[in-house]
Symmetry: C2
Subunit: 360 residues, 2 copies
């Protein structure tokens, strides 16, 4: 792909070392070492020079390539919920910095299964696999595929949906604690009837969210039986809409949703009834996926720390690849409640007090 | 992966054929054929039964697998702009229905390059590659990599960024016509100072958008020199914000943005100055990516027909794989203007008339 081969007309110039050196703030000699694929340059500087070549529209010469330590598979359920591309892209960038070549296997709705991807990755002698909230997170799915990977010595990490019985490396968001924070926030705003809109219960994150909701209802609202306050649907805008309608019909003034996408559906359900958010109904999302500050109203939500999750997952995978797995203690990361405009005091009451939380 | 091996405790049941047959609405014999991997079942029914197995939380038995016609690579620039995961997911689903196994190669910012992915896919004997708005769309990038693929007989399709000099199969959105529609809409609302907020000009879609903008300014607003009406920044929220500030400083009352993400930045810039959208400033996005109906205000935008683009791209790739490439005429798809709440009559004027367009 070097431009000296003459196959390509004059649309591309050879990198001008001075331009690159100026842009990155290093010496011309350093840039030359990177361009010629020589050693003696830190990974950070090398990445910066390569990025500058990309920015300036230069082709990378052949010699800067073929440094990858191997392919890593990233298995995600689908890309329509914006939290999955966000985590996947963060994992891609970090794996790439570690000199791995990441490929994303997104599960098509109702099409090929995760196992086909696993077979493909094994056949391609993958260096490892990061599973993001895929079959492992489904409490009804077989764990045999993971036993098989362990048996073959293929490193892998489970993200959001740990299965302690596997003893695998795992990174999860603390979903139970997050939901408790949301219920506490709503209780402090004077809400007494707080509902949970959630998708199918068989997934590990759902189970955690349900557990957090039940304990929070008992602790903050003296509710023993959470069942009438849980509406189950799908993890989609339409699912959120339908679950919210059920909860609004039964007199709830505040709804915690198990995803941002569901929360946007819940806002739509409330607005379709002529209810104002947050004056009449408060709604909390989950994930703080891209653009949630720009919805109407800006969504109060529990932030999944996607960059921190990606860092922990890549760190764990790199350790597995290096055979340094150690104790494989599960990594559990905390969610912040980001208070924006979709939650407020219950109508007709003065809230007892507002939870002290970050506002942005 | 069948559940008869006893490796897995009783968390998983064998598929109950009756349940599956009832759910899909076919006979038990048909379900049995699918589960046992026998022939004589249409692809649609097989997919429906497999989807039902997934829905009901059943494992797919081994025999339903190993039907893939091969791996197909999907190269996307990154997943942070929501239009890319949307198109990629649609391509994944359609390739999967065609019995291909799709893998997504998302380019990490400043990390590995597209060529490393291409080398990997070649080494893995890929069946073909769909390039979505990646290096081919960069007018400054070398085309040698595509010549090399052609030379090796590897089928590929270019999405959004045709390069006629390659003679490759391509599918594009009609970006020039889309921008013209937006300018016409704003002119009909009485706007005389219409600006364009756009990212780097070297990309093919940018060039098309600029061409459409220049011709529309001349035709609908009698403006000969478009240059003072074009603000160039990055294709991000912050880029949109910065470009919009420049255009607002120079007295523009309406801004067409080259992506939805930029448009959300433009809305934010206007609101930060205390300007109301659309009462004081009208803003049009581009893509109609997920959730744009739920922003504040709901975004008027040019819809990229992502499902139609994915259909055309997969259709073209399947033809290439079958050696039926024919004339390889470029496929160009039209964008609809979706009029929502971010555009309105210019302040202080009564609009001449409203463009008749879909409202949703």
């Amino acid at each position: 792909m070097s431009n000296t081969q003459g196959a390509e007309p004059a649309t591309v110039e050879r990198p001008r070392l001075e331009d690159l050196a100026r842009k990155v703030g290093v010496s011309i000699a350093t840039v030359s070492r990177v361009v010629n694929g020589r050693k003696g340059v830190s990974r950070e500087v090398r990445q910066a020079v390569l990025a500058a070549m990309d920015d300036l529209g230069y082709e990378r010469p052949d010699r800067t390539r073929s440094i990858a330590r191997g392919q890593v598979g990233i298995i995600v359920p689908d890309l329509t919920n914006p939290i999955f591309p966000a985590i996947a892209q963060a994992v891609v960038s970090l794996l790439s910095q570690e000199d791995f070549l990441p490929v994303i296997c997104a599960l098509p709705g109702g099409g090929r299964s995760e196992d086909e991807y696993i077979e493909m990755l094994i056949a391609q002698e993958t260096s490892g696999i990061i599973f993001i909230c895929s079959a492992h997170a489904d409490g009804q799915a077989s764990l045999e595929r993971y036993h098989r990977l362990s048996g073959r010595g293929i490193p892998f990490v489970l993200v959001n949906g740990d299965r302690p019985e596997l003893g695998a490396a795992s990174v999860s968001n603390d979903d139970a604690a997050a939901i408790r924070t949301a219920v506490q926030h709503l209780a402090s705003l004077g809400h007494r009837n707080v509902g949970l809109a959630i998708g199918p219960h068989r997934f590990v994150p759902s189970k955690q969210k349900l557990a957090g909701f039940r304990s929070a209802l008992a602790e903050f609202l003296d509710v023993d039986d959470a069942a009438p306050h849980i509406a189950t649907s799908m993890f989609t805008v339409e699912g959120g809409q339908s679950a919210a309608n059920e909860l609004l019909d039964s007199g709830h003034t505040a709804i915690v949703c198990a995803s941002d996408v569901m929360a946007l559906g819940a806002v739509r359900a409330a607005q379709a009834r002529g209810l104002r958010v947050p004056e009449d109904v408060s709604i909390v999302g989950f994930d703080d996926s891209t653009l949630m500050a720009l919805t109407y109203p800006p969504l109060t939500t529990l932030r999944q720390p996607s960059t921190a999750i990606a860092h922990a997952a890549v760190h764990a995978l790199v350790a597995e690849v290096a055979g340094e797995q150690g104790s494989r203690s599960p990594v559990v990361l905390a969610s912040d409640l980001v208070v924006r405009g979709s939650t407020g005091p219950r109508a007709g009451t003065s809230a007892r007090r507002r939870t002290p939380q970050s506002r942005q």
